[in-house]
Amino acid sequence: MVKKRVPDWLNNSLWYSRPPPDDERILRYASRYSDPEPTAEPPTPAAPSGDPPRPEIVDSARDRDGDGNGVLESPSAEEISRQSQLLAELSSKVVNMRELRRLASQGIPDGSRIRPVVWKLLLGYLPPDRAIWPSELAKKRSQYKNFKSEFLMNPSEITRRLEKSANGDNDEIKRQNSGLLRRSGITHGDHPLNLVASSIWHQFFQDAVIIEQIDRDVHRTHPDINFFSGDSQYAKSNQEALRSILIVFAKLNPGIRYVQGMNEVLAPLFYVFRNDPDLDNAAAAEADTYFCFSELLSEFRDNFCQQLDNSVVGIRSTLARLSELLKQHDEELWRHLEVTTKVNPQFYAFRWITLMLTQDFDFGDIIHIWDTLLSDPEGPQETLLRVCCAMLILVRRRLLAGDFTSNLKLLQHYPSTNINHLMYVASKLCSKHSG
């Protein structure tokens, strides 16, 4: 039995030991490995503060002097050039999407503060033609406002509004001072205990279950990040926004409603848009996030639908594709994982794929990974599979040495790693894909 050899580019000491200092990018994470702190500085941990904090997500990859003090170092020459290229793209009348995607896939420099706009372009929320941006944005934002007022009203208010439109306002004034109170007919034959399916009250109570679930998940999102949780007014307003977005989405998509985990996919999007340096955009972040979230989920909605689990588009087939990808690039590892230790992808990769890696990396790293994921012209799923494959390959030594329990433990609590390194491996997989 001929064992397929590990490809040469992979079988390089590059992946295991301190890398040689000649590669620019590698230099950046050499300091990381010497850094005593195990993970990147998270955005300010949830300490209750009065005024809205704007925690900077620290990019540890750029923390060149390794002191971990969270101060952003000046960007490297390569980054500066990328940033200026991106800015050039964005200032042209019609944005060249292919070029933008190519640039974005290498990562968007943090200092440039153009990430919100780039993400909106990548997700198709903003059209390439810059001239029509203001009108498009205005249209979409008012659409969202209508959605909110339609879906977030409780039945008491709806009834009152229906009455007002039927009777006019004068009824409110006409009040008796004493005497037997008049009984009047009910609006549209609807009352709170109505069991008819078309009753707004009935629908309200059915939706109440989903809304309760959404509430619970929103409160549990990223409890360590000040932006999302804590007692500050800022955090509460952000949670409100997340809640509204998820409720509107659930009501507009009766097919998948709300599934636990959608809040995690929503969080990075909202964070990026809310921290837009342009204040108008930041104020309208909720509406923008809703549409981008819809767009993002449309690619992945099949993963959330239980009935489709076993079909060609469902999660099972995606996991099978991951398996295939691994087999193609590293057969030894694949054989060890799936055949010898029987660690099926559904034990660890399910969460990686459905939640787009939001649970397995730090928030700052997630945003960088998403730069690359969103820039894929075929949709994030392809790149996501490659990144997952790269994640497996990076820890291959430990996996090959481990058994079922230790491998599963390792994969379910993926060790923190340098993101640039990871993305580099993932991009290498792409070029070998056709090979």
């Binding site: 008491s156 009040r175 109170l181 009910i186 009352h191 205990l193």
Partner: protein, 189 residues
């Protein structure tokens, strides 16, 4: 938007076996936040049934109640409203609106819920509103045999209350509603 169910004078098992089936099918757990019961349930099983509909249950003592621990009167604050509860057999003449108004002023509540007459009434005077949800089972009262089963559901939303009156007439459930608002000034107007 708080839903409060008010009912009473069931007289189970002495005068009626159970709530009408149509009422029972409508009363499902999970919708109602509070239950106010004017009394005369009369047995513990009814108490347990009401508890399953909603854990927040308030009962006043009626003259036939087997559990003597229920209070004679009770005051509850729900949202912006103070609701008073009393069975009503203590207020003489029975069902007299002026005497009930006196009781309301004594308890200092916006809405007084009483029973005993087994007839639905809703009456407004300067001090507030007096509501009688009637008998939910249609049990006969000391005064009359001609009783329609009825109960009420109050939707308290800010300073406004919508009272939905559910009555069983000739085997059909009829729903009406009554609207009233609380004036923000609670001093005499």
């Amino acid at each position: 938007m708080v839903l409060v169910l008010a009912l009473g004078d069931l007289h189970i098992p002495h005068r009626a076996p159970d709530l009408p089936a149509k009422f029972k099918s409508m009363l499902v757990p999970g919708k109602i936040q509070h239950i106010i019961c004017t009394g005369n349930l009369c047995i513990k099983e009814v108490h347990d049934y009401l508890k399953t509909l909603c854990p927040d249950l308030h009962i006043a003592r009626g003259e036939y109640d087997e559990d003597s621990r229920y209070p004679e009167t009770k005051t509850i604050t729900i949202g912006q409203f103070k609701v008073g509860l009393c069975h009503g057999h203590q207020v003489i003449p029975w069902g007299d609106l002026d005497s009930l108004a006196m009781l309301q002023r004594q308890l200092d509540v916006d809405i007084l819920v009483t029973g005993h007459t087994h007839q639905f009434t809703a009456y407004k005077h300067e001090g507030g509103v007096v509501i009688n949800p009637g008998s939910a089972t249609g049990a006969h009262s000391s005064i009359t045999y001609d009783v329609n089963p009825s109960f009420i559901l109050m939707d308290i939303d800010g300073l406004r209350v919508v009272v939905y009156v559910y009555e069983l007439i000739d085997g059909e459930v009829k729903v009406d509603k009554i609207d009233f608002k609380k004036t923000t000034a609670t001093t005499a107007n």
